[in-house]
Symmetry: C2
Subunit: 314 residues, 2 copies
């Protein structure tokens, strides 16, 4: 029988997990004491927290522990990047059933570590408790390196709306899995593990982005957050949205419009920003809309019909 987390014990599990986390140069004191200590050279610290619940944010039969770890880290690291900051560290608290295979917990740790490694961040601590289902609470921290944080509230009429990263891929992968299929693999994999262009966040801040957020709820929902916080209207130009071939194929096979996944699908953690129109955007950023006077979000000037995104408790 595989060893469970209960067999390993709380301190055994923490020890085994901690051994998997290398500590970068920004870590002054890593795991093992009452608290960790990290460098904050800028004198300010960016802080974000997300919670992931099994069955709601991931399924063990659809995603490996490694992928869940990658995704849990990505979701938080992208929030840090969306402020224009460089992620430096992550903490992870896990609730898990006593009979959880300890290999699952260790692979999760590997996934967290590898996603953090992409940006040079370290997993500096956490907690493990017994719970009915697997619940992860991840916090991520970042340094602004002297930049001003890019808020959701800075968009101004006349700005362009631009995106860097994927839209709709994770949603398409979820639709595929929900129908019992496992291909196209590129979409399924996008659901399991987002590919986030982390350094596009500080890059956008450096060129002068006026507002930014990550696309976790869906393009229209997150554009709506910028519109609301900035007191503007955002118009998305559907013709500028890429619908990659595998998504078209799946749409045709399932009888669904893939544009809806691009507009309303969450969990790709693309970065969405507005820029003054005269700025030359970095190469990876694609203009997909404009900021105008008013309120709300429209698609090609028309109110959107359909789901804007997902929320919890609804």
């Amino acid at each position: 029988m595989p060893e469970s987390v209960a067999d390993l014990g709380e301190f055994g599990l923490i020890g085994a997990v901690t051994a998997r986390y290398p500590q970068g140069s920004g870590v002054i004191l890593g795991p093992g004491d009452d608290a960790a200590v990290i460098a904050a050279p800028d004198g300010r610290m960016v802080v974000t927290t997300d919670m992931l619940v099994e069955g709601r944010h991931f399924r063990r039969d659809w995603s490996s522990a490694y992928d869940v770890g990658r995704k849990a880290a990505a979701q938080n690291l992208s929030d840090v990047a969306a402020m224009g900051a460089r992620p430096t560290a992550v903490t992870v608290a896990m609730g898990a059933p006593k009979d959880l295979d300890s290999a699952w917990a260790l692979e999760l740790a590997d996934g967290l570590r590898d996603e953090c490694e992409q940006v040079g961040a370290s997993v500096i601590g956490g907690d493990t408790v017994s719970a009915e289902t697997i619940i992860l609470a991840v916090s991520a921290f970042g340094d602004l390196d002297g930049r001003e944080p890019v808020l959701r509230s800075g968009a101004r009429p006349g700005d362009v709306l631009a995106v860097c990263g994927r839209l709709g891929w994770a949603e398409a992968g979820l639709r595929v899995l929900s129908r019992g299929f496992t291909s196209p693999r590129v979409l399924v994999q996008a659901h399991r593990r987002p590919e986030v262009p982390y350094d596009a966040g500080p890059e956008a801040a450096d060129v002068g982005a006026s507002a930014m957020c990550d696309v976790s709820d869906g393009l229209l929902a997150d554009a709506g957050h910028i519109a609301e916080c900035s007191g503007v209207r955002i118009s998305v130009h559907s013709g500028s949205l890429e619908i990659p071939e595998p998504m078209r194929e799946v749409g045709a096979a399932l009888g669904e419009d893939p544009l809806q996944w691009v507009l309303a699908g969450g969990d790709d953690n693309a970065l969405l920003a507005t820029f003054p129109a005269e700025l030359r955007l970095p190469e990876r950023w694609r203009v997909i809309g404009s900021v105008v006077e008013g309120a709300g979000v429209d698609v090609d000037g028309e109110p959107h019909v359909g789901r804007a995104g997902h929320t919890h408790f609804s």
Copy 2:
């Protein structure tokens, strides 16, 4: 019918909770964006995370939402204090059943806020998701104000062991509640809401504490952590441990030895530290033992018989 968190919706709940959190001067950007930004004037940041699960760490029939909030904050703020740091901010992620009365969530927020207010810390953000039971993940942050962090690993033979705060009170309160009683109220209340001498942490660091941690697992268990990390033996002197009158009475009534609660009871979040013997300790710190060559923990020179403390997954 009372309004549930689902009636309020995710954004409604976040808005109502956030309105209850005043933001202190150390908060550069509070809740509402992808991440918060806090001041880190020292250039280093102390970070800790704990998870609390309903039924395991608290019961809704034994503790009010307000008390759960106080306790959840206290547990993390005391970890920050135990590093010799001043707590500055807290984040809170909550998983909750959809039918949870929204008043419960708001009272929880009040408790978190009031505990943080004691130390001048602000609740700067969080997350809410739907879950089977109530799960709270709290992270706390602190500033060292130029101090070196006090680790668990600095105890040396010849040092004295000292404590500031309560020992055994929360455990005694738990025993009372477990037997179906609600008095002595002072003990029940100690279980519901620890009274933590937060400023004793920086104070101990300032006078030269060699090692420190908070007593969350129990005196012997946490002394054991210091002993193990420092490579020393810690001897607890039972005669120097206070057993307050209400605890004696309950011990007699339940046929239990209250000294065991003092030695092994957790959740009071007292601060436990070692100091070089020549130092004059601040008034609130009581010497309760000594550091000697060797390994492990003993009580009056004898190995302890009985439970040392509690762990999870066991």
